[in-house]
Amino acid sequence: MSQAVLCRKPARVRPYSLTGGRQRRCRVLLVETFVAALDTPGDGPPGPPPDGSGPLPPRSVPEVRAVPEARAIVELCFRLRSVAEIAALLKMPLGVVRVLLLELADQGRIRVFDTGHGTGRPDRALLERVLGGLHRL
């Protein structure tokens, strides 16, 4: 299985002004990490026209390797999903899903959210909230 923390190290250091300071992005893909599509439904690599006629819509340069699995992930992510949910719903191994998610994130098609406490142990305030939530069940 691939690692949970996937860090992209640029081949060379890009000038700060060009990258807005984001010289290195580190995305944490735990099983519970939430991701969401940045596209709106209908975006993305165009499929065949619905009725089989008519010209194809003008096609922007596809920055996405249009692997069907990647498209399936983006479609699922029109609703907020966790990494584990994506793997389960698409019946794909977790490691494969993580690699595809990282690629999609690099392409700006999905957004990876922080868990709220990074990868560390939850602090007392968070544990108290979980306790309160469980009490209310």
Partner: protein
């Protein structure tokens, strides 16, 4: 595996309706998780299903077997790779707080997965069946060495002898500060109580 198991206490699949937080893609709730570990058949999936708001889902991780004996039902013999299945469920605790429960097999050869799984976790519920107590030794060893808060939940199957909790503790060499509960994984109330005890234990071990 969608909700056919009549022993499950969770809501039926028809109730898998989206929650409010799932439709807002601009923000995400706080994501927390608890690991449910133990031997095969001890009741992990049942435990998860009893409290989950979704029908438990299954994820798989592929692992390579280095000439090791394969001893469980999910593994394919005579192959160099095998698949480890994890069942998980979800509980929305607040509009901005979600708890995941991951049920995972406890054998030592799955530890490669656990390093990954326990990262950021609240803690673990180690499920035990008194007829096969040794099945949970590896999980106890792992959480001890990982420093993850855990409790032991004895899943009381009917027809099995009720053991004195102190005897079970002793058999597991459980430190006195680690809670041990006797429960029924099919009962939602018992599962919620077990989770409350685990989170309480996590609080006890978290500096203020």
């Amino acid at each position: 595996m969608r909700g056919e198991d009549p022993t499950r206490g969770g809501p039926p699949a028809a109730l898998d309706v989206p929650r409010g937080w799932q439709t807002d893609r601009s923000r995400a709730p706080h994501a927390t998780k608890i690991v449910v570990a133990g031997g095969f058949g001890v009741g992990k999936t049942t435990f998860v299903g009893s409290v989950s708001e979704i029908t438990p889902l299954r994820t798989e991780a592929v692992m390579t077997v280095a000439g090791e004996a394969v001893d469980d039902r999910t593994a394919t013999p005579d192959k160099t790779t095998t698949t480890v299945a994890m069942d998980f469920g979800r509980i929305t605790l607040d509009t901005d707080l979600v708890l995941y429960l991951f049920g995972t097999p406890g054998q030592k050869r799955f530890w490669f997965m656990w390093d990954d799984l326990v990262r950021g976790a609240i803690g673990a519920v180690v499920m035990a069946d008194t007829r096969r107590l040794a099945d949970c030794f590896p999980a106890l060893d792992y959480f001890d060495s990982a420093g993850l808060p855990y409790i032991v939940a004895v899943n009381q199957f009917e027809g099995t002898a009720r053991h004195d909790p102190e005897e079970v503790r002793e058999a597991l060499a459980l430190p006195h500060q680690v809670p041990l509960v006797q429960m029924d994984a099919r009962q939602r109330v018992a599962v919620v109580d077990t989770l409350l005890i685990l989170v309480g234990r996590a609080l006890d071990t978290t500096p203020g």
